[in-house]
Symmetry: C2
Subunit: 351 residues, 2 copies
């Protein structure tokens, strides 16, 4: 069989981004041959250094090149030397919005053998998928400031939610729920306060849900959801939520599922009108950058999600199994560095 | 000494509200005489039943009466028979906004002997105060819906933040931090995405902080804050945050500090231009209403906050000690009902 060629854009980014991406690519290289996959990689120098050098975050020309790729692997962006928001809005969120990543897919799963800060919780208790909206809501970037720096300053942020945007992410969430054994979808919002947006989500879940009679649905306020994450994580199977609530609860989810070093995510364009982008949930962690200490597992699990997305589910399962085996073997062993972990998983994948 | 008379408005509300409020008042009655306090109580029939009967949530005339009181004790509002948001916005938030409760004060404290879902966490690890803004931000109620029910629907929610509103809550938070041994204030926001509002908070903390050189300050994104709550709660002393982030993290805080049955709060008007309102963080819990099962401790601790606010700190400490003793005595004992817990604490308070 001739091998399939995949154009992969790589954005290592800032801080520990390049370190963890290197390990993700190592594992990708290790798994590719057995599944007749060939990755044509293009690395894009984006992030803090580029911004300092040129003032650019995500130039139009680069964005156009990205559109021509099949998938994107991103490490992390952000650095204390850059004003907060510049890289996040100008690079990361710009990519998510321009490439229409309307599903931000974030599994929250406790692997056997992993530590969780919760007492008495077993791996089977933490196994959910958060389907976070990725292209609107409070992240729309709508808002402004008037009379800045004066006692009369007003700063606004507008959450913009559309039937178009909500329906497509809700539909995707129902598909995910329908494909899982428990077939349960929970809407997380704050509809008793954010009444307009919450009502749109509620009505949409109800209406789309009529097409999925096999999926049971319920609703939990976001504040209560954070409580359930730590007291009763097993109550959740699939969650659909807005961009900001999804951001918050998936960090909490990462914390209960073995830590941010393991949390993978996909910024998915299900219609495939542009490439999807896979990235660890963690940030650039400037405090440990360059020390070879960062855990690349979240990036490697993001690579597995990427493999799923490009239609190589067997390769994806292989990477996931290698990660699970590596995690199971960690207990009681001395801590390893970034490259060591990458090597170990790559070896399991090729072995 | 002649006893001091205090006008107390009581809003039992819905669900378990009346049950827990009855115990709060029982404890108040038990502590009052020894501290020469006399409470003139007026009970206001507000909540789901009133709305069903008359369509009213918080009528203007009642609001005017409330303004004449010295303090308000509220149980909980909300019922599944009332559309989501009607009572929350029309009663609870209307009271908070009209009475200018710009500080929503929420201690997060793990009492000795209490269970927490976190493993390896000791009471001294969880001892913080969240100062949540209470009168603006995403709770402003600004927003709307266009083309409702059509594929072209747009629903917006605007977060409105003013220098006036942010400065006064930040200043209050610095005062709280300055009064505590660790003298540490953490701003929790999402300034890399909500850049306008986040920047206003950041600049305000910096500016006001110059007046409090003894207080150290730092900043944590709200998503990361939820992680720290479960992995490293001891990193927080005092937190200042906006209305929505405060809502979310204090429910999580309640969960890690022994559960929502213990979480107290004060909706405080520090300028005393209107009465402050004290209420448990939990909701009306219609599923267990009328069964005498609800834990009244959160309401009783809210009564302690009320006592502090009206200038009776010794009475407040007495109630807190009684609660702490009651909690310490719980371990290994059979569960008690609402009134039994109230009786036990009232007895300790008068004894
Ligand atoms: C870096 C930041 C803009 C981003 C977000 O808020 O989405 C991050 O927290 C995430 O969850 O991917
Ligand atoms: C009932 C609801 C409007 C309220 C809020 O969101 O403030 C509650 O969750 C709280 O925390 O007091």
């Amino acid at each position: 069989m001739a091998s399939r060629s995949i154009r992969l854009a790589v954005i290592p980014g800032d801080g520990i981004g390049p370190e963890v991406v290197a390990e993700g690519l190592k594992v990708l290289d290790a798994v590719a041959p057995a599944h007749d996959l060939k990755f044509e990689r293009t690395t894009y120098d984006l992030g803090a250094a580029r911004w300092h050098r040129t003032g650019e975050t995500l130039p139009d020309a680069v964005l156009e090149e990205l559109r021509g790729q099949d998938a994107i692997l991103l490490g992390a962006v952000g650095d204390p030397s850059v004003p907060s928001g510049v890289l996040e809005r100008g690079l990361l969120l710009r990519a998510r919005f321009e490439l229409d990543h309307y599903v931000n897919l974030r599994p929250v799963k406790l692997f056997p053998g992993m530590d969780t800060p919760l007492s008495g919780v077993k791996p089977e208790d933490v196994d959910m998928v958060v389907v976070r909206e990725g292209t609107e809501g409070p992240y729309a970037g709508v808002g402004g400031v008037l009379r800045k720096g004066t006692p009369q300053e007003i700063a606004t942020q507008e959450s913009v939610n559309t039937a178009y945007g909500v329906e497509r992410v809700v539909r995707y969430a129902f598909e995910v729920a329908a494909s899982r054994p428990r077939r349960k979808l929970t809407l997380v919002h704050k509809d008793n306060v954010l009444t307009f947006a919450g009502d749109l989500y509620q009505r949409t879940v109800k209406r789309v849900g009529e097409e999925y009679p096999q999926v049971t649905t319920d609703y939990v306020h976001v504040d209560a959801a954070t409580m359930f994450f730590v007291t009763m994580p097993q109550r959740f199977d699939v969650i659909v939520t807005d961009n900001l609530f999804g951001d918050i609860i998936t960090d909490l989810g990462a914390a209960i599922a073995g830590g941010i070093g393991l949390a993978a995510s996909g910024n998915v364009n299900p219609d495939r009108t542009a490439p999807s982008m896979f990235e660890p949930v963690h940030g650039s962690a400037p405090d440990i950058a360059g020390q070879g200490k960062a855990d690349p597992t979240a990036t490697i699990l993001s690579v597995a999600m990427l493999l799923d997305h490009i239609g190589a589910p067997e390769a994806a399962r292989r990477v996931e199994r290698a990660v699970a085996d590596d995690l199971a073997a960690r207990r009681g062993r001395p801590a390893r560095g970034t490259a060591e972990i990458g090597d170990a998983i790559a070896e399991r994948v090729s072995g």
